[in-house]
């Protein structure tokens, strides 16, 4: 299991508060809001400052309605929809996050692409997959029971649909660098299922950063999960747990998302360093950057 890093051990903690970060953070803001970047766009720095960008793929995992899309919107600074809409298929969104490495003082832009998959929608097509296809189990973290109840005739009838949705699943798992496991403070079941969820997610890929996020933390009056349980879970699993929820009062206030994004960046960077230097201990973190496409 990957090592848990203390906040601030690799990247500068709370860097968004310090004066020297302003130049970098201003590139991800626009009119006091977070800037939304298209695929052809990236934060533009003045020509005399060169900053490398490292790309990562983050998969958001959790049962339907737990708040995957809202978390993605929160992290990217997009408007949070005021109504719950089910995600059908896959939606990805991109977060640029500047990070300062502690030792070298070097600044990097982390480009985190969040993958949000509507679980129910996939499940709807999931049952069309023939029983016993091992690669299907690998391809989709939610190996659901409906496949077993499916009658043969239905499978034969719908067999033409298989390639399309297999490809959707594969798309999700291809080259994942990190998984955010979500549970909701208002849904006991989602918390109890975390261990299973993590086991399934880890089966998916071996070298992956894992973080746990509890959503709807603001609805404490309806909470189904006590603080003690969360602490205990954190101790047992050894995974960092974050709490998210409530209205975003000010999108340019990065304080709410900074701890999670910094922690994610820290672990991703560490994972790359370890991989690049394995089995030796990383001495020159910079060299790891060449593993990832730099822009």
């Amino acid at each position: 299991m990957a090592q848990i890093l203390d906040p601030g051990s690799i990247v500068v903690d709370d860097w968004h508060r310090s004066a020297d970060s302003r130049e970098f953070f201003s590139r991800i803001l626009h009119k006091k809001k977070r800037r939304n970047f298209g695929l052809l766009e990236a934060p533009v720095m003045p020509p005399n400052v060169s900053v490398d960008t490292v790309h990562y793929k983050i998969f958001i995992s959790g049962k339907s309605g737990v708040g995957k899309s809202v978390l993605a919107a929160r992290l990217t600074g997009l408007k949070i929809p005021n109504m719950h809409y089910e995600t059908t298929g896959i939606e990805t969104s991109v977060v640029y996050w500047p990070v300062k490495l502690r030792e070298s003082g070097r600044v990097l832009f982390f480009r985190l692409q969040l993958w949000d998959c509507g679980e129910n929608a996939l499940r709807r097509f999931d049952h069309l997959l023939p029983v016993g296809l091992e690669y299907h189990k690998l391809a989709h973290p939610y190996n659901n029971k409906m496949a077993l109840n499916c009658t043969d005739s239905v499978i034969l009838e719908k067999i033409y649909l298989i390639p399309i949705f297999l490809c959707v699943f594969q798309s999700c798992k291809e080259q994942v660098d990190a998984i955010l496991f979500l549970f909701s403070f208002t849904d006991r079941v989602s918390f109890d299922d975390l261990t299973n969820q993590i086991a399934r997610g880890t089966e998916l890929c071996d070298r992956v950063v894992k973080l746990v996020v509890g959503t709807k933390f603001d609805l404490f009056t309806h909470t189904d999960v006590t603080e003690r349980e969360v602490t205990r879970f954190q101790e047992v699993s050894g995974l960092p747990v974050f709490r998210m929820g409530g209205d975003v009062t000010n999108a340019s206030n990065l304080g709410e998302v900074a701890p999670l994004l910094n922690c994610l960046a820290e672990h991703l960077w560490h994972q790359d360093c370890v991989a690049a230097m394995a089995p030796a201990i990383p001495t020159h973190p910079e060299s790891a950057v060449y593993m990832k496409s730099t822009v």
Partner: protein
Amino acid sequence: MMLQQTGSVQLLCLTANSGVPLFTRGACKQLPFSIIGSLNGVHMFGAGQGVVLGGCETDRGGRVVWRVFQDSVMLIAVSAGRHAQQGSGSGDSGEGDFQMRRLLENVWSCMVLVLGQDELVSVRNVERLKRDLRSCYRLIDQLLEGVQGQQSTMGDLTHCGDCLLPTNPALLQEALDGFTQAAESEFGCLMVHGRIAAATDKWWRLAPQEVVLLSALARTLSGSASCDFPVFLPQGSPNVAHRLLRFQLLLGADVCVLCGPSPTLNRAESELVGRFWSPVVEALRGTLAVGERCLPGSVTLRPDVLAVLLINRESRRSVSCVKTVSAHPSPHPCSPPLPSKTRCWELLRLFFTFSATRYFPLEETPPTLALTPGQNGHGEDTESLQEDFVLGFFHQPLQCYLVTDECKCYGLQTGQHQLYLLTPLSVPTFALRSVATETLSALTAAKGF
């Protein structure tokens, strides 16, 4: 003369044979269950007597429209008349009915688009269907907003693709064709500000309603960087799903392709997006700058045009624009204020409906598509949206006008085009025709639309 706006609309969906409610959308205050039951009951009573109940109007200006699709799902739309107290002649009912019937048609198609026809027609488990239908809510809510005039597009009503005319169409078309081909597809479309800026030939050969619904779907997905969305085509492929891949190139500029199992979203994004679109990023920015006006700077509209909708009848494309009021001060301080931008969109929709139901019937889907066996076999599905009034004409009207207490409207029809125009009240009625013909030639000459 008043152009009446459809008030807030509530949409009910029930199973056709058992009347089990599947969902309701719209209007914040839901109708009580007993009313939903009665609405279903009265339709069922009619059916028992061999009568199809299509719609009715309440004495306070509300309106109810029913329709059963494929003997499996019943959709009911209930609207509260907003200007009920002003009353109106019975002649006005046409507009509301047309809009509401279009709404029901679109909602059904959008359910097919998301879930596929099989799942809706052969219902095995009602509870599961209810859950699955939740995937349609986002799109249905957008359609409801459209009916209430909160969208600046008209496609849901006209069934013509809402277009934006780019400054450099050839360059974008070339990039799109290359990108679509590389994504192993023939169906590609570039959308700017939620309207079609370029599309492949095959995209335009989809049924007009499909073009409109795919545009609406792409709009609901805007904001995210990329999407992979399973879609069924209500007419072309109601039972076999395709994938709609959508990529946000720049903020407000999205490219969509309809494809089969490959490529994966990952691959298309990492290998194809940059390769085909980076070289034309400046052209994309130029097109974004066209903005909500939808017309390039080279096309100038006369200052006395408030809003315009141009339809190409052959290609089923449309371009529409409402001028910002600030650029349009009222010439005389004593004359009534100009309608707001939102109101202009409403008025444009109403005037289109007024003309389409009375004078300029739009050709419905070509018969080759409409008569595919099994799809339109039911008598109800082929019902006409025209009023009987139209059928009484011996000739085809070419122009029409309407003076309301908010604006003046002029409609014009040629072999290839339909033009709908709103002007301020200050424009003399006798000048409307020349304003309209001039606008038509300015729009068509510049871009060959």
